[in-house]
């Protein structure tokens, strides 16, 4: 009876699909913001923004936080937040440096150690949040200090040079351009595609949405909320280490302060990309585009010869205006009133 797999379309033509706008509103919105901003840059400083160099510049730096933003989107969709990833970037990269150095520059062992540390940090975050039900906003501030403290103690506060001489293969993978395209951006595209599939085409991804929407309903239907949330935190841990390596190799040096200053760019990318702070909705494509918008503002303002003091002002304007617009449009689409339900 009910289990036949007939794929007949409903005959009744009153069943209309929701509009394109309603289904992809926030993604289309952020892409619109991106295009509008780019056009205004081109008009304001055509000489700079028709030159490829500016693009090459921010295509090298944006992925350093953009890759984490894509992973962080998972955690935010589950209704949580992770503020400890800058420290995980540093701790994981420190593990890479220490292991690589003690095993005769064996960088593959170093990578394994680095990613293992990132996964472990994410696991601790996830279990504290999901198993013990501690608000993630609070506990990841705590673990942030913990991981950073551990790294500073391990490294004794000193950095490590990461030159191409030490491990040329890794530099080729993570730093050199690939047919003229900054390899960092290629990696970010790889991460985007992989995590898009993970979010939209696997059971885990489906459960990420359900858990963030209504954890009780998810549990009643047999979804393991603790496991889903924990895995999302582990994903952030892994991508934080990857970003830490990209960042350090880009600068030829591992600074014990790696990750400082990444927190707000990354989180802003997730929210600017249309992922809801209330959980249950969000898009990795949105975070990807938003990260490049934030990266472009940074590079654009400096290259256009505008005083760098204006950067923060521009960020603020773009983020506040976009998020306000998103909220207003979203509620219009869902036919809810602005001042309540």
């Amino acid at each position: 009876m009910a289990t036949e797999t007939v794929s007949a379309k409903p005959k009744n033509n009153r069943v209309a699909p929701p509009s394109m706008l309603r289904r992809h509103g926030s993604q289309l919105g952020i892409i619109g913001v991106g295009i509008a901003m780019w056009l205004s840059f081109v008009i304001a400083a055509p000489a700079v923004f028709t030159n490829a160099n500016i693009y090459l510049a921010f295509m090298q730096t944006t992925p350093q936080f953009g890759i984490i933003a894509i992973a962080l989107t998972f955690v935010v969709i589950t209704g949580e937040i992770d503020l400890s990833f800058p420290s995980i970037m540093a701790l994981g990269t420190a593990a890479f440096c220490l292991v690589t150095a003690s095993f005769g520059q064996h960088w593959i062992l170093g990578l394994i150690a680095g990613f293992a540390v990132g996964a472990l940090c994410g696991l601790v975050n996830g279990l504290l949040v999901a198993k013990l039900n501690i608000p993630s906003l609070v506990i990841t501030i705590g673990t942030s200090f913990l991981y950073r403290g551990l790294e500073l103690v391990l490294m004794n506060g000193t950095g490590v040079p990461m030159t191409a001489k030490n491990y040329p293969e890794l530099h080729a993978l993570l730093r050199e351009s690939f047919f003229g395209v900054p390899v960092q951006t290629l990696w970010m595209i790889v991460v985007l595609v992989a995590l898009w599939v993970l979010l939209n085409r696997t059971r885990f991804g489906a459960h990420v949405f359900l858990v963030g929407d209504n954890p009780t309903s998810a549990r009643l239907m047999g979804i393991n909320v603790v496991s889903v949330k924990t895995r999302a935190f582990v994903l952030v841990g892994l991508m934080a280490v990857f970003a830490g390596l990209l960042t350090s190799i880009y600068g030829y040096y591992f600074w014990p302060t790696t990750g400082d200053g990444f927190l707000l760019y990354t989180i802003a990318s997730v929210f600017l990309g249309g992922t809801s702070v209330f959980g249950g909705t969000g898009s990795v494509v949105g975070s990807f585009v938003a990260a490049f918008i934030i990266g472009a503002i940074n590079a654009g303002i400096v290259s256009a010869g505008i005083n760098a003091f204006y950067t923060q002002l521009a960020f603020g304007l773009v983020i506040v205006v976009s998020v306000v617009l998103q909220t207003v449009i979203e509620r219009r689409i869902r036919r809810q009133s602005l001042t309540g339900r």
């Binding site: 009876m1 009910a2 289990t3 797999t5 007939v6 794929s7 007949a8 379309k9 409903p10 005959k11 009744n12 009153r14 069943v15 209309a16 699909p17 929701p18 289904r23 599939v197 939209n200 085409r201 696997t202 059971r203 991804g205 489906a206 459960h207 949405f209 359900l210 929407d213 209504n214 009780t216 309903s217 998810a218 549990r219 009643l220 239907m221 047999g222 979804i223 393991n224 249950g280 909705t281 869902r334 036919r335």
Partner: protein, 268 residues
Amino acid sequence: MSTAAAHKSQAHTSADAPPVIELRNVSKTFGEVRSLSGINFKVHPGEIVGLLGDNGAGKSTLVKTVMGFHRPDSGGEIFFQGKRIDDWSVARARGLGIETVYQERALCEKQPIWRNMFMGREPRTKWGLLDVKKMREESARLMSEHMGFTSAAVHPDNVVTTMSGGEKQGVAITRALYFDAQLVILDEPTMGLSLTETKKTLDFVAGIKKAGKSAIFIDHNIFHVYPVVDRLYVLDRGKVAGVYDKSEISMDDLIDRLYRVARSGSLE
């Protein structure tokens, strides 16, 4: 409780096949609140069991314990087809063919219908990836053919928030029936439904019986429950106050006893 009735009900069912589900001496305590105490309860294959009792009697808690959502206090035992199961969980229960329409519906309202329909049991392609196409198509087919919903709000891509109460309940009911469960549990499924939607739901319960499957049916309206069930449990303040075969009690008699329970806590 009336032990005589309990004995007789045992005799009436297909004696050889073990119960689909059985609870023995199950209690459930939430902090200070004891929602269930010493419950013995079972459902035989092909049997429709009614569960009656005032608000707060523990009906939903019983259902969630059967589903593995609540773990019984120590001393309680759950048997599935005669085998004692210690690591009972919702995923396990659903895997073994038990589906529930929860009183609170258990929907994720910001998600489209197709995600809700297959929540926790998402179909996959041969590559192991989510079969989104199938989820969409099956949702559309089930909602229109099965439930007869034709309004624009029930397109599979629409989010549940925008739907009416009856349509939301339709998603929850269709979902429970889709997986061809051998035991379907319906916890106050007609609450907030229109007359025609209620009739459709009752027809579904009758259909479960015809298909040879079992059901647990909870409803405050005794005129809904009595005609479709084989056996009735009356719950009062977390205890089984009585078990009746339909053949041994008339509807009027049952109504009388329910009033008596509500007043004095005793059926006699």
